[in-house]
Amino acid sequence: MRAVMLSMLSLAALPALAAGPDEARIEQLLAAKPEAAAPAAKGKPARGKAAETDSAASLVGQRVVVETRSQGVYLGTLTAVSRDALTLAIELPARSVSYTLPRANVARIAPR
């Protein structure tokens, strides 16, 4: 009897036990609101960005590689730098687009 009860309890608990950390993370991401794709909100700048902004400003007009904190990579010509965002001109087959990256997501910027 006890064995039957235990097996029933185990069956009921199985999905919770089977859900690994990856599945739990997906559930959290689903529950969370989508992150804003637009550049970081204007307002109070992040601390310690001033020096970084200056180094990025010296690259304006150059072709650069930008690595993001989410392990992304972008290539383009740096056209504008602000406290909150970097703007790249990216050449596409039929047109050129101006692409804005939030500074908060930039891990590294280097000339190409």
Binding site: M1, R2, D22, E23, S70, Y74, L75, V97
Partner: protein, 391 residues
């Protein structure tokens, strides 16, 4: 099924009442009846003549319920097993079903072949099945298995997808045109482990996800007038994303059956430069109809899974989307998990989902990805070319 469940529940109630009754007579006996599977026999004998604590009625009830449950379960099994070999009509249906499954798995079967496969003349039918490398196991279960190439050749393992790498032409598989809502309503959701023997992989679908077959996926694509994807194997959806909503996201599962794909060191910046310089991309993976802006997640290969995400700007629009990919190379092709057209703000969800599914995939024995090129078909491109869409 219902009868089994009802009988089981009634026996459970009898069991609980029995323990309670014995417990009232003696706590020790109650505990032992609860813990030890057959201790109730001791309690049955011990309290046989005790009108307040005897459990004769309870044991009888459990016994009757068990008999009913076993009888019902065995009749269910008989019913399920009786599908094959009971007559020509059932046999024909079983053969039609096998043909449908083989098509779903990417085998090319022409209408003439189908006619011969379904022929009432046993000799014609057998010859047609042998031509396809499929033989009847003859165990009455209607099972089919990989067999010899031809009557004169020795029997050896055979991979249907490997022997038929050519994408199946759309006109050979007419797709019924339905409204999207109707196609969604007809879709059958699969859970648990999903195995494709001919291509040699198995996906352990996570608990909160559901899988729909290639036939259902094609119907849904057709309902939205999307071009047919000959490499599609399935769609996988989260249980909270309604299939009836045509804009809800899903994971495309595709089998790129071009053979073993060589690896090379992946240098993200170089790959991106190559991809941006490629003015006529030829994507082998599912992709949004737009131009590549950059890698939202740079390509990386850990020996098992190649993953990356592309940020794209849609054609004639400034609208940006991300396409997430996780590819699992195997011995004879690459299994692809892709989500296309996701909002950039959902990149983390997109990438985590395709990665989870790739991690939940395993190749069957002998179909795993070997580091060295195996004998047989080799793809004329490398894994890097999949991420750059080079020819």
């Amino acid at each position: 099924m219902t009868l089994v469940l009802v009988a089981y529940l009634i026996s459970l109630v009898f069991g609980i009442l029995m323990v309670v009754r014995v417990w009232r007579a003696s706590t020790l006996d109650g505990v032992l009846t609860l813990l030890l599977p057959f201790y109730f026999i001791v309690a049955l004998i011990k309290y046989w003549n005790d009108p307040d604590h005897n459990i004769r009625f309870h044991v009888l009830g459990i016994f009757i319920c068990s008999v009913v449950a076993i009888w019902s379960a065995s009749s269910m099994t008989r019913h399920a097993g009786g599908m094959s070999g009971v007559g020509d009509k059932a046999d024909l249906q079983a053969r039609s079903q096998v043909i449908k499954i083989m098509r779903e798995q990417g085998l090319t079967i022409t209408p003439e072949q189908e006619q011969r496969l379904l022929s009432e003349d046993e000799a014609v039918s057998d010859a047609a099945w042998r031509e396809l490398g499929v033989r009847d196991e003859g165990d009455g279960s209607g099972a089919v298995a990989a067999g010899a190439h031809g009557s004169g050749e020795p029997s050896r393992a055979r991979d249907a997808e490997f022997d038929n790498p050519r994408p199946v032409a759309a006109q050979e598989r007419p797709v019924e045109t339905l409204s999207y809502a109707e196609a969604a309503r007809r879709a059958v959701f699969n859970r648990g482990r999903w195995t494709r023997d001919s291509t040699g992989f198995s996906i352990d679908v996570p608990a909160k996800f559901r899988l729909i077959s290639a036939a259902d996926a094609r119907r849904l694509d057709s309902a939205r007038a999307r071009p047919e994807d000959s490499r599609i194997m399935a769609w996988i959806l989260h249980e909270n994303t309604p299939l009836a909503d045509p804009d809800s996201w899903h994971v495309k599962v595709r089998w790129i059956s071009d053979g073993w794909v060589a690896t090379q060191a992946l240098e993200p910046v170089q790959l991106l430069q190559t991809a941006l310089d490629n003015k006529q991309p030829q994507p082998r993976v599912a992709a949004s109809s737009g131009d590549l802006l950059g890698y939202a997640v740079a390509p990386r290969f850990d020996g098992q899974v190649l993953e990356w995400a592309e940020e794209r700007v849609l054609v004639n629009s400034d609208h940006q989307v991300v396409d997430c990919h996780a590819l699992r190379p195997g011995r004879r092709g690459v299994l692809e998990f892709s989500i296309v057209g996701m909002a950039p703000g959902q990149l983390a969800l997109c990438q985590a989902t395709v990665r989870l599914l790739a991690d939940r995939t395993s190749f069957l024995e002998g179909k795993e990805y070997p580091a060295a090129p195996p004998d047989g078909l080799r793809a004329p491109y490398t894994l890097a070319a999949l991420a750059t869409h080079m020819p």
